[in-house]
Symmetry: C2
Subunit: 906 residues, 2 copies
Amino acid sequence: MKYVYVFGGGKAEGSAALRELLGGKGAGLAEMTRIGLPVPAGFTITTEACAYYFKHKQQVPRELTPQVRAAMKHLEKATGKRFGDRRDPLLVSVRSGAAISMPGMMETVLNLGLNDTAVSGLSEATANPRFAWDAYRRFIQMYSSVVENLAKHDFEEQITATRKRFGAADDTKVPVEGWQEVVSHFKQVYREHTGHDFPQDPEEQLWGAIRAVFRSWMAEKAVTYRRVEKINGLLGTAVSVVQMVFGNWGEDSGTGVCFTRDPSTGEPHFYGDFLQNAQGEDVVAGIRTPLPLSELKKRFPEMYAQLDQARKRLEKHYHDMQDVEFTVQQRKLYILQTRSGKRTPAAAFRIAVDFAKEKLIARKEAVARIKPHDIERLFYPVIDPDFSQEKLEKAKLASGINAVPGAAVGRAVFTAQEAEEWASRGEKVILVRRETSPEDVGGMYVAQGILTATGGKTSHAAVVARGWGKCCIVGCEALQVDYGNQRLSVNGRTVAQGDWITLDGNEGLVYEGQIPVAMPRLPGAYFTLLGWADEIRKLGVRTNADTPHDARKAREMGAEGIGLCRTEHMFFKDFEQPERSADRQFAIQEMILAETPEARRRALDKLLPFQRRDFIGIFEAMKGLPVTIRLVDPPLHEFVPHEAERQRELAEKIGVSAEFVAKRVEQLHEANPMLGHRGCRLAITYPEILEMQVRAIFEAAVDCKKRGVQVFPEVMIPLTMDKKELGILTDATRRVADDVLKQANAKINYTVGTMIELPRAALLADRIAEVAEFFSFGTNDLTQTVMGLSRDDAGRFLPDYVNENKAGIFKADPFQSLDTEGVGLLIRWAIERGRSTRRGLKVGICGEHGGDPDSVRFCHEVGMNYVSCSPFRVPIARLAAAHAVIEEEKRKAKGRAGAKERPVAQ
Amino acid sequence: MKYVYVFGGGKAEGSAALRELLGGKGAGLAEMTRIGLPVPAGFTITTEACAYYFKHKQQVPRELTPQVRAAMKHLEKATGKRFGDRRDPLLVSVRSGAAISMPGMMETVLNLGLNDTAVSGLSEATANPRFAWDAYRRFIQMYSSVVENLAKHDFEEQITATRKRFGAADDTKVPVEGWQEVVSHFKQVYREHTGHDFPQDPEEQLWGAIRAVFRSWMAEKAVTYRRVEKINGLLGTAVSVVQMVFGNWGEDSGTGVCFTRDPSTGEPHFYGDFLQNAQGEDVVAGIRTPLPLSELKKRFPEMYAQLDQARKRLEKHYHDMQDVEFTVQQRKLYILQTRSGKRTPAAAFRIAVDFAKEKLIARKEAVARIKPHDIERLFYPVIDPDFSQEKLEKAKLASGINAVPGAAVGRAVFTAQEAEEWASRGEKVILVRRETSPEDVGGMYVAQGILTATGGKTSHAAVVARGWGKCCIVGCEALQVDYGNQRLSVNGRTVAQGDWITLDGNEGLVYEGQIPVAMPRLPGAYFTLLGWADEIRKLGVRTNADTPHDARKAREMGAEGIGLCRTEHMFFKDFEQPERSADRQFAIQEMILAETPEARRRALDKLLPFQRRDFIGIFEAMKGLPVTIRLVDPPLHEFVPHEAERQRELAEKIGVSAEFVAKRVEQLHEANPMLGHRGCRLAITYPEILEMQVRAIFEAAVDCKKRGVQVFPEVMIPLTMDKKELGILTDATRRVADDVLKQANAKINYTVGTMIELPRAALLADRIAEVAEFFSFGTNDLTQTVMGLSRDDAGRFLPDYVNENKAGIFKADPFQSLDTEGVGLLIRWAIERGRSTRRGLKVGICGEHGGDPDSVRFCHEVGMNYVSCSPFRVPIARLAAAHAVIEEEKRKAKGRAGAKERPVAQ
């Protein structure tokens, strides 16, 4: 059994592929050696040896001893030094390293090989006795702690005492005599606690360290770490024994960290620091100011040249920007570690695109490297990172749930009406509510940001704000909103109407006052990369947009049409002429309160021109692209005022008694509005509403068409549960549409389809598809009904379901990432059944999930035609759709490879 | 083409099988002729002739004329009379008759064949000229109206004038001269309006009548009737031409209607009336008192003997009790019509059982004949049918929805608390509420009946009352309930607390005062027949019962176990010691308001003994039978008081501030409680609740077992949506159960299963079945989620969905009769998938549908093991389950027969 893999002198027995066996560190050192990088020589004991150790009562395998001995010989030969040598002794580090990194969990021993003889050799070789004795005392200290588990305290006491005696302010001021004294004391402490002398035999030292590293695998903190991080199935830790190199050998030595490209911008230049005559820990300590690498180039062109060569080799080999640790000992460069470098989102784009252009990676690989989160972070404003942290801390008022990222500054207002009034005077406002409702949508729209005391990531405020990409914090429970006095109080502080506050939607933090905000700029590489994604993906990407403004925004973001235009927001808000919003509101309210079809029709006649104008605006914005318009969906009680004063206003306006209004509002109340009189049920009860909306759509379409604007209207019926129900409504839709077109003598291709948001519609999709020309999965409501979960109420228990430390039943919040198991099963069924009766049925998704990468992958897998999401998530969906293709291709390639590998039956 | 089928003299070309072709009447006459009953001779023109008539511009088929002529010859021969004979002319009736009866829709002409000559012949033959001329004038009148469409008015004027002239008080007093004068006038009117003389040629008369009957098929009223009644696919009407017989020929003639058994009790004796020297219309008019048939036997034993012989033949042939119309002319009996007789439910049972015992039908046929509705009507009390209709009308206050049938008399009270107080004083009360909630359940329990102003057939009040079989009227919208003044007002009348009212739950009517109520007695045949049903059925029938009282009741009704024992009602009401109910209520409320698991546990400890005692009671009542106990299901806010005063009471009792109680109650509010924090989600959040309930169940089981009471507990976890979720809870259940059993050193077999009431659970049933030992479909909630329909809110639009004259989307209310298409598809899937991972998984249903016959049939078809329903529906379910088997056998037999009939391929 081979337990030891050596590396050094340009050759290595291991490689990156043996990570399981050699651990991350051992495999990395072997790989770097193989590709010709200057790496200190050494060897790695496999994880199998560690596994053996624990399986056999902490005995190392018999073969290990001779193998280690041979490897040491090899190492001595490679370095030209010998263990315990009195002139230039070989020193090694002994390091742990599992296949998965467990930072800080396991043990390392440095400077191993020093003893009373070798310390003199080191003094001689370095011509620096103080360095040598300091190294020796560090070794004893580390060995005692790691191998013998002695308390650090006893050793530190000795150092303090010596420092005092020599009047040294810190360790660097302690002279060689001091360290000699410390070494002497350390050996004494060691003897007292262990009952034997500090081992002078380097081989004995080595075995002590190897065993200690093995043991550290089962140390309580390591076991706990693996449990918490759910790291399973590893054999154990490997042990790497590596020649020590010293950046603090002298003035021609040093150490540094560098990135192969700028991690902040992605620009293709070296980025990093170098500290002369210093060790790694000095860089981290930040006591001395390091040189930038440009300075290194000037001062030590030879060193720089070695480094630059290594950089090229690294990028070519690893195909990614690297974060490299290196040491120079006596002008010779050693690479100690390399790994993919962390970077800003902007740099991520630049690097991926540049790597592809430099042919280091394929375009698909470049696309695959960008994470959806990178795009998200690219778009949202942030609290100015240069702003004083101290001041920021002082200004902090409260924290809530970061529903929509970004940052927003404005004056606090507490009603939608005030928000609109202040905004109309040119003021920036933050709308603060206990919770929001569709009535507030006008005020929400004009606000810079939205803050609510209640609700979760899928509450009304969060969903509406996300659609607009508007900074929003919800569930800020410490907030007490006092509508009566128009103020909020929180943790003893009060914010009155008009006071400035700042929201940090990235972190979910609320600040008092105006905190400076930085706006992001889109890097050129972003556009290049998303262009590549578009070439790869098969799913269409549309947007959910209810206003011309949103539609334009979404087009800029790359949307290929509107997948969901909700018409009800138009009932509340005139997005083009906000001052006329009240007219619409009264008309819709009058319609709702009407007691006869005639009165209802009169009120609807008032609404018709408003809706027509809205549709014209949207059609113009989406010129040449399809627009799916959903007929009115929410229950009517969402449109009527619930406050006595506003009820009085309404009563006066439409000429009825306030009691009548109050009574009707009360009658509209529902026990479970989510399952109530809404969606197409409204159109079954009040066909006039559907007729008005369809008329508005097609009159708008005709108007556009006559002016040369290409329109592709798709009328979408919400909340269908039955073929006959849908048939009645599609018939009515076609009747009105064809009537409008005939009267205008116009020809416009249009389709009539439905949302699939109830299990019954999904179950009976074959029949539904006989009348629906397209399906759009409304996965918000479908999730609610399939799981029996109210979005508005789930906040009370769903966190326990998702939290792994609680019940941990679901991997993610099903309202954020589609429940592919349950809801997904029904979606697959519905698509298959739908296409069984209507070949090539167009299928999309328009729930919140349309912008969630995991959900987009699912939509690709089940063969949807498109996803639709809020404008700001369109780029994410474009990327995720490309990822889905790439992953699928990889799976297929793997499948093919797997098939090839299968043995042929004889 | 054969268009005419003759019958008479014991032979008939047609039979009952030719109903499509000969119409109901024609086929019936042919059939009766065939089986040797004395039927007047005649012939029937087929519906195909009618269809031809309308397809060919109202031309009769060429072959028809000679066929009719031949049939007339045949008829003359059979009767020994001739058309238009001057001595004893043949008279016929010409009648319409389609395959499906359309009462009152189509035309008949009687006495056809009379003319100026024949009328003398008839005078002579009857020796009654007055009779002859009266018949002639009737003929002219009818012919004019039916064939020539003349206004009846003109003819009636003539009669009035003649009556006046002869001083006759009514038509019977008009002498022969009068009728002769009328005939003369009639002919004149006829000539004036038609421009030709009244036809004297009987054949011309006949053709006029035949064509008129054809035409009546397309008369507006008939077309409308068929549209409304959804009668489709008929060819047209047949025309039967039948020899006239006259019950008013003389004293040895008469007419009557009889039932072959007593339609009220089912006793096997003749039941009916005979009117001497009279025609059918005289019986209906009720002017003269008819003889009971027993009297006929005495007076005219010969006639009676003929009748009795016919009766036996009819029952033997038709295998059912018959309702027979007959006429005797000159001592000769003619059967004019026979059909299955309508009967009371009690008679239905008696007759079915007697027929089986008499070997006239098989037992299965007897069971098949009883309709579920028959059982229902057998059980509920009724308003005394002998009570004066006039008084009843005066007492009527309002009408509502007849949610639970029966009748109830009591004093009106307006709160559950008052109901309990009055009841504890021995008063009978009717609980009147705007709506009810679980808090009211105690008051509902003690009330005689329940009346609410709002809600539908599946509102809280209706569902709870149905479970108890307690008379309940809901949605009585005219009612204005004034809690402040403790009274209701309706249509200007006021009922104060303590005033008597009466509910008629059968009709949904509310009366002022005490109306006498009659209680039903179960006939012996009921028990016999349900015993037969039990032998036939394969589905088990269990009951939904929450109290020992209900459990005992259900056992009497034939329940074979409890399929659903809801534990939450126990939280409100101590059914054995009502005066202690408050203790439980406070304990549960304290538990809900608790802020720590410890405080919650303390409150639960108080509840434990109550629940244990309840379970002991139920186990004892169901001794030897399985009991499925569902852990707590409703959202917690249903358990806390919402009125300020009761909140204050609670606060005082548990030692917190009223504000605290109010705040917690407010916090518990949910936007969509149906989809909120309820069911097993409560147990995920508060495992203590589950632990207490399971402990109570098994401590009770141990207690019973030790006393020799056999127990089979089945613990049921509600609202599951995920295997892992269920796994956590089944594990917890077993842990507590096994702990209790171990400590008591007892061995009790138990199972742990789940309700399937969310689509996700049904979709993933294969996984769920890996942890659930049984499934019970909670079809109330499953219907709500699959269809996205809130039971509480659907009343606003669902009626339009079910009403055929509105949208007519569903055949039945899906909360009453299972939506087998949609919900049913999911149920089939879940059973199949569930049994794929757990062979022989026990599956039942415990929603409201378990007692609905159509739903029971579905449960049988999909292979469930049992249905569970409220105690009063248990007999219905037993019957329906037997019907399902019988229908299945019939379908299979038909399939086999069909297979046999298929031609063998050569």
